[in-house]
């Protein structure tokens, strides 16, 4: 929530600005060499005032709306993990769920919430 600052209030989670990254990684240097290397990248980027290019892992299919805030409100603290997996424990983030319609629908059925098409498609 610190990084993806708008996830709880907006449909978009928001991409953390480099400034935000530095907020922590100014002080946190990382324990293992690999970590340090990665964090160094960020710091260098900040020094050169050149935003790094993140590679997108979680991409929804076209034509679908996913209001993050609604899901976070409904699922509470576990919200992120349910779809994105336990990112905190991932050394490299990978996609854990298909993000396909069937997957969405199954969850909506499980939680007995709307299955109206026009909630996600408009």
């Amino acid at each position: 929530m610190y990084c993806h600052y708008s996830a709880a209030v907006s449909s978009e989670p928001g991409i953390p600005s480099l400034q935000t990254c530095l907020g922590c990684h100014q002080v946190i240097g990382g324990s293992t060499p690999s970590h340090q290397a990665e964090i160094k990248k960020v710091r260098d980027a900040w020094r050169e005032r050149k935003a790094p290019e993140w590679i997108r892992i979680h991409a929804l299919p076209g034509f679908v709306r996913f209001p993050h805030m609604r899901h976070i409100k409904a699922l509470g603290t576990q919200a992120c993990v349910t779809c994105h997996g336990d990112v905190q424990k991932m050394t490299q983030v990978s996609q854990v769920s298909t993000l396909r319609m069937g997957w969405c629908v199954r969850c909506h059925i499980k939680n007995n919430v709307t299955r109206d098409c026009s909630v996600c498609h408009y």
Partner: protein, 990 residues
């Protein structure tokens, strides 16, 4: 240019981080390919991705100075809406205002400074270079023959120009193609003041317009339309009644067709009519008698204007004149306004004066006609000043000419161009390569108003602020900055502006400034200034001009309601928006009365070439009874020889028929005598009007005032409204089943049923809602060729049905916005083989674009024919029919899918806004409140005719209106159970 491109990609990526993907990627089948996401370096404050930010600023599409609220998403301006705080437009906006966005992201904007090279063509130049050249030129001319020509500029920018011109010994003058010289001159004649008053339509009991098109092009249309609808609508709110509106003029304009009665007086004779009415009022003591000096002056003036005397000259029967006078006076609140044709002939000023006299005798001056709040337009230079300037130019007296925000080369084709040729050095600050700019030597493109600071004073008491709402799209600079730099002043125009405002309110300025920014300016009611009748009123003599000699025709050139003087022609939204009266789009036309057409053997679409003594042009004929038989009428706006891909070489320029000489009162004559000849050519006119058949299926309902007053709650005056006995059970049963279905996939709590109520008594047919819909829902513009084949994509169309008298002559029109009715038992739903069209739990006829395979069965089965089909991929980059060429694509609404080819689309009551409001409500642990959701059409409607809400909510406004006895459903006989309730038009017969 290049940097703007990067920026665009960067924004696109931001957009792509979710919903935007669908909007940006044209045919996004399946997931997007792996993209790279570029974050901000530093988080911009006041911006949350995925949620819109609104900025208050001012609309500069015309001089009315309406307040704007600009919807900004991820740094892109995606929608313009009216600013509710502004006393001028009260949160409403017209079609032209809506289209301002397409000015900002216009693909034909001048992307960087241009200079004319040796070969006579333009080449790019950097800003410093350009400014240096300019400074040099200014020095060379040594204060001789420097002129700065702007549009109507009652603003700090105007002041900057003034100051600079004073500094360099030049002169600043302004020009509007449709000036209001006659109004000023006329007011001077009658009251000795050259200012323009405010007209209080809202409180008028009887409105009499002598050609003044106050709903479309006259002074401040949105403000007047809002006021007009308050006075003229039949509203259950106040004691049910309405003010009668009578229109006097040779043709029915948008304003004219909203009249209860049309008096087709001879063009130019309006003044005599007005005086005759005044005479009746005076002699029959219908109003409070004026005090002695006035009384004598008036009687001496009016002596010669008895109804009988003017009957022949005006072509109006004596009895009618007397009746009008009686009605006008007895209403105790009659407002007469003069404009349009009445004020654009040789005797325009006289006519205005005459109308002033009428208001004065009826006692409306001071109550409904309020002097003191002089409108900005009052201070623009007269046409005479421009002709004077042209004389100087031709005489070679002008060495250095600056042009900003005006395009005389289009409104004076030929004449001004020649004059321009004689000017040593011409500099333009235009944002687009219009006719004037492309004749200049140096172009320093200005920011678009939405990109820069500024203010404007549309009328005394109101100062509207203008702030940049987006980063500049191109490598342009605010002309204010450039001038300040040239005049050696430090700081930007923004500093200048703030400094100026500081003088107005020094104490804790920052807070004052912030507040002003938030509400879009400072608004105050100026004290009304009383006026007395001028001493020499008896000199007023509105003798109409002699009619055109035989073999010649009186031709009227009138401003196009959407394109106005042509400035709208480069915006596809305005080009594709059918004219409110003729329903013709993408080209101009000439209005011909059927009798005249019969005489000449003319059919709609046949070309007529009009030859006046000043020039000739050919226009396709539109045959209509809404124009006098002895008059031809041609709209301006088209026929550009430059001005970008959407405007260039399209149809003909009506200005070519007009002379370049100022008349007695320094105005321009828009009424010319011309020869009309058939060319033998023919074209299929691009119109959305269908067949003339009205089958009495209850499409439009009209009630006479008396009948409407007599209605009681619960009445069903209209045919087809009651379900026939035999059908009742079936209908009930169907309703039940529908409801059961709706229970599936329910939201929490009671299901809403979204509905709309449209009051035809308020709707003027101005079509602002149509453009708003285009803007909100990414509706593609298809262009002239496809529109001619009936393939326009409009989700919302305005159907215009004439109200005719016994003899079949139109007395006005009923305008009906037709959009998806969101039927309760919709014919479109059961026939869709893939559930792309289906019934949502909240009662919408959902349309799932990415499920649609395009069998088009739904449209065949839709009796309202409100579904449109993507015949081509209108979003395809560089496709033949691309609707959003970069950077136009930046105004696409990221909350709405851009539809692919082969997909059916339609209105869904702005479902994205509904979902947005529902999401917000959930976040705040509440249910959606009435008024949370405002559809785009409702938001912009200047006459507040559209109300959206939940029909299941007993306390909602829409529920109340749906129960109104005037309410009816279109084609109710088909048992489609529409969610849209129309409230019948009410017509006052005096």
């Amino acid at each position: 240019m290049s940097n703007s491109v990067d920026r665009r990609r960067f924004l696109k990526v931001l957009g792509t981080a979710g919903a935007g993907a669908a909007a940006v990627s044209a045919c996004g089948i399946g997931p997007e390919p792996t993209e790279r996401l570029i974050p901000y370096l530093i988080q911009p404050e006041d911006q949350i991705p995925g949620t819109a930010t609104y900025y208050a600023t001012t609309c500069r599409e015309c001089a009315a100075g309406c307040g704007l609220r600009v919807r900004v998403r991820e740094g892109r301006a995606v929608k313009l809406e009216g600013n509710p705080d502004s006393p001028i437009n009260r949160g409403r906006l017209c079609a032209r205002g809506q289209a301002g966005l397409q000015g900002l992201y216009n693909p034909d904007r001048v992307a960087h400074p241009l200079v004319r090279n040796a070969r006579g063509t333009f080449e790019a130049i950097d800003w410093d270079g350009a400014i240096q050249r300019l400074a040099a030129k200014v020095r060379e001319s040594q204060g001789k023959g420097i002129v700065f020509l702007t549009g109507a500029e009652q603003s700090s920018f105007g002041d900057v120009v003034d100051e600079w011109m004073r500094q360099v010994g030049g002169r600043h003058q302004s020009y509007e193609a449709f000036g209001f010289e006659a109004l000023r001159a006329g007011n001077r004649m009658a009251f000795g003041t050259g200012t323009l008053p405010r007209y209080d339509f809202a409180n008028a009991k009887y409105i009499l317009s002598f050609g003044a098109d106050f709903l479309d092009t006259w002074l401040s249309p949105v403000e007047f339309q809002n006021g007009f609808s308050r006075a003229h609508a039949f509203d259950a709110g106040r004691p049910a009644s309405m003010s009668k509106f009578v229109y006097v003029g040779p043709r029915l304009s948008l304003t004219g067709m909203n009249a209860d009665e049309w008096i087709a007086a001879r063009p130019g004779s309006e003044g005599m009519l007005a005086l005759a009415m005044a005479q009746v009022i005076l002699t029959q003591h219908l109003a409070r008698l004026p005090t002695p000096p006035d009384a004598s002056r008036l009687s001496s003036l009016l002596a010669g204007y008895s109804p009988r005397a003017v009957a022949t000259a005006t072509g109006i029967e004596e009895s009618v004149i007397v009746r009008l006078a009686r009605e006008f006076a007895s209403s105790a609140g009659g407002l007469a306004v003069a404009g349009g044709m009445a004020t654009q002939g040789p005797n325009g000023a006289q006519n205005v004066a005459a109308v002033n006299i009428l208001n004065y005798t009826a006692g409306s001056v001071g109550t409904l006609v309020k002097f003191g709040a002089d409108l900005a337009l009052g201070s623009t230079n007269a046409f005479g000043d421009l002709t004077a300037l042209m004389a100087e130019m031709t005489a070679g007296k002008v060495a250095l000419l600056f042009v900003h925000g005006t395009n005389p080369a289009h409104s004076l084709p030929g004449a001004f161009q020649q004059a321009l040729g004689k000017v040593a050095y011409k500099v333009s600050f235009a944002s687009y390569l219009d006719e004037t700019a492309s004749a200049c030597d140096l172009i320093l493109p200005d920011h678009h108003p939405l990109e820069q600071w500024g203010d404007s004073r549309p009328r005394a008491g109101v100062t509207a602020l203008q702030q940049p709402v987006v980063q500049p799209v191109f490598d342009t600079r605010p002309t204010g900055d450039v001038i300040l730099k040239l005049s050696g002043k430090t700081g930007t125009f923004q500093d200048y502006l703030q400094a100026k405002w500081r003088t107005r309110h020094a104490a804790n300025f920052d807070q004052y400034w912030m507040e002003s920014l938030e509400q879009g300016g400072i608004y105050a009611e100026p004290p009304a200034r009383p006026v007395r009748l001028a001493a020499d009123v008896s000199k007023i003599s509105p003798a109409p001009p002699a009619t055109a000699p035989e073999q010649n025709q009186d031709v009227i050139v009138f401003p196009h309601a959407n394109l106005h003087d042509g400035r709208g022609a480069n915006k596809p939204w305005l080009q594709e928006l059918p004219d409110a009266v003729s329903k013709i789009a993408w080209h101009s036309w000439v209005e011909v009365h059927p009798d005249t057409a019969a005489k000449w053997g003319l059919a709609t679409g046949d070309f007529l070439v009009l030859e006046s003594q000043f020039g000739g042009e050919k226009f396709p004929a539109w045959i209509t009874r809404s124009v006098r038989p002895d008059v031809l009428a041609v709209p301006t706006g088209q026929g550009h020889t430059a001005y970008g891909r959407y405007a260039k070489d399209r149809s003909a320029n009506a200005f070519a028929l007009l002379g370049a000489q100022a008349n007695a009162y320094g105005g321009r004559n828009f009424l010319v005598a011309a020869q009309a000849k058939k060319t033998g050519e023919h074209r299929k006119i691009v119109t959305t009007e269908g067949g003339p058949r009205e089958l009495g299926l209850g499409t439009t309902e009209v009630l006479p005032l008396a009948k409407a007053k007599a209605l009681h709650p619960g009445d069903h005056p209209f045919h087809y409204e009651e379900t026939p006995e035999y059908a009742k059970d079936a209908v009930e049963w169907w309703g039940e089943r529908q409801h059961e279905k709706a229970e599936l996939g329910n939201y929490k709590g009671e299901q809403p049923r979204w509905g709309l109520a449209i009051d035809l008594a308020k709707c003027t047919g101005c079509s602002a809602c149509v453009t708003a819909c285009y803007a909100e829902n990414n509706v593609a513009t298809v262009g002239e060729e496809l529109m001619q084949r009936g393939r326009e994509m409009a989700w919302l169309r305005l159907e215009r049905y004439w109200r005719t008298d016994e003899s079949g002559n139109p007395q006005g029109a009923v305008n009906q916005p037709m959009l998806c009715q969101q039927c309760g038992s919709a014919p479109c739903e059961p026939v869709c083989p893939v559930y792309a069209a289906y019934h949502t739990p909240d009662g919408l006829n959902g349309q799932v674009y990415n499920r649609c395979v395009g069998t088009r069965y739904c449209s065949n089965n839709c009796p309202y024919k409100v579904r449109t089909f993507n015949w081509y991929n209108y979003a395809e980059r560089d496709g033949q029919f691309e609707a959003f060429p970069e950077p136009l694509s930046m105004l696409l609404n990221p909350d709405v899918t851009v539809r692919e080819k082969g997909v059916m689309e339609k209105c869904t009551f702005c479902v994205q806004r509904i979902r947005g409001a529902q999401n917000q409500a959930r976040l705040e642990n509440r249910n959606v409140r009435d008024g949370d959701i405002v559809t785009a059409c409702q938001q912009t409607c200047p006459s507040e005719a559209i109300v959206f809400g939940d029909l299941n909510d007993r306390n909602s406004r829409v529920f109340e209106l749906a129960g109104n006895p005037r309410g009816y459903h279109v084609l109710a006989g088909l048992n489609t159970k529409p969610a849209v309730t129309y409230l019948a038009r009410v017509v006052s017969h005096g």
